[in-house]
Chain length 266, copies 2
């Protein structure tokens, strides 16, 4: 299919903090509903999971920002992400008139992930998704029938076990798998204006970044921590066929103002 | 469509106690996978919800076997039913080769329920589903595309709120709505052989019951408690177009041995 004949698909990822703020969530979902064309939502839920873990007396153990997931924690994240978190979003979207469907990677065998090897760090029931193991046919059938998929950060291994999975990686994976059929833009929404030269100054927004510039900025030290895997997923998505990635504040979804990643020298 | 041209659909409902027993659940799901023809699963989760409520220090309050559902309890049942309970079943079915999809009534606007009036008893976020507000087109599209729907006992009001809903009633509602298109049999699985003359004697199984017999048995006093709403839902389903209802032990799903409800004098 030639690029010009493809229809557009917006894949929007929201993080855990907005999920835990009912007013911000409802306002965001109203904006999401107003996005034109086909769309798909991916959400995290880490903030709620950590609160629930504390309430249940389950220890939260993170390494490199990833949750160590034993059987008890897997049950907890499945409850929080696929249960309340996902279904609350779906019910709110239905209220706006958006016919949403909540999914984990197990549903319709949508996303199979590979459980991480136990060395050097045993993350437990944590899996990494793969665009080649993503059921693009099933997901696009839903989209074409007028339904809006809402993915939580849970996948499965195809062998009976659910897996805790990073939501940014799910957005990258689904976007890459669907880029064969659609002109895909990923919107990574979070609580900053985008990639900033100075993390405390929203005015220092970098409006666009090429891969070469990204490497240089990392060396200069102002792209650090959680922004690195987000940008790695973004450039991987562009290399895999995604048309555009924008990193932006959730409140700016409709204007699209943020940091756009450019594929020119990818 | 004439009856003879319709294809068959088995709607199977399992209760909360089997959900809480990993070995029994996996064995049951293997049987379910072997059922021939189109099928659909509905599950409860009350046992797990009560355990989780105790662990979280949330008070469990039941009236007439129904859970009083305030905002905190709604969050809890959405987590347990739509989260871990539903997704664990879906992952296990995927392992058997059954392409399952887990759904609440909010997903794809599948089942809208009416929130109960607050008098005489205020059950809170509890809703009663209605076959006329069930999206039979969406559910049958999934079935026809080779996917097996797995419904948890959560619906929505269409106005942004999830609702805790009785799983037997969901089975009745979906079965009735789909009976226009399919020859539907409902299998209500629980932990007895069927309707028994003497609850302590599995040999006292009543193999079939007509509605007249049901009325007589109620007067004679050996159909009591939780069996009454189950049978009421069953006869309502038959009156609404469902071909057959069988009440049976989960372990007898493949043989179908239990109490069959007969429509003859309905």
């Amino acid at each position: 299919m030639t690029e010009s004949k493809k229809t557009t698909l917006s894949i929007v990822k929201i993080g855990g903090s907005i999920m835990d703020n009912p007013q911000a969530l409802e306002s965001f979902l109203n904006d999401f509903h107003q996005l034109k064309g086909h769309k798909l939502l991916v959400h995290g839920g880490g903030v709620m999971a950590s609160k629930m873990a504390a309430q249940l007396g389950v220890e939260t153990k993170m390494i490199d920002g990833r949750r160590i997931t034993n059987q008890e924690t897997l049950k907890l994240v499945a409850m929080v992400y696929a249960g309340w978190g996902n279904k609350n979003i779906v019910a709110l979207l239905q209220k706006t008139g958006c016919n949403a469907i909540g999914l984990s990677g197990a549903d319709g065998n949508a996303i199979t992930a590979i459980r991480r090897a136990p060395v050097p760090v045993d993350f437990g029931f944590v899996g990494d998704p793969d665009p080649d193991k993503t059921n693009a046919t099933f997901i696009s059938q839903l989209i074409e029938s007028g339904v809006t998929p809402v993915f939580c950060a849970i996948t499965h291994d195809g062998n009976g076990s659910l897996l805790n999975t990073n939501a940014d990686a799910i957005a990258y994976t689904v976007a890459t798998a669907l880029s064969k059929k659609y002109l895909v833009t990923i919107y990574y929404c979070f609580d900053k204006e985008g990639v900033l030269r100075n993390i405390n100054d929203p005015g220092s927004l970098i409006p666009s970044i090429t891969r070469k510039e990204y490497e240089a900025y990392k060396q200069q030290g102002f792209i650090v921590d959680g922004m690195i895997p987000k940008l790695d997923n973004s450039f991987r998505a562009i290399a895999g066929g995604v048309s555009k990635v924008v990193i932006l504040h959730a409140k700016n979804l409709l204007s699209g103002k943020g940091t756009a990643l450019i594929s020119i020298d990818n």
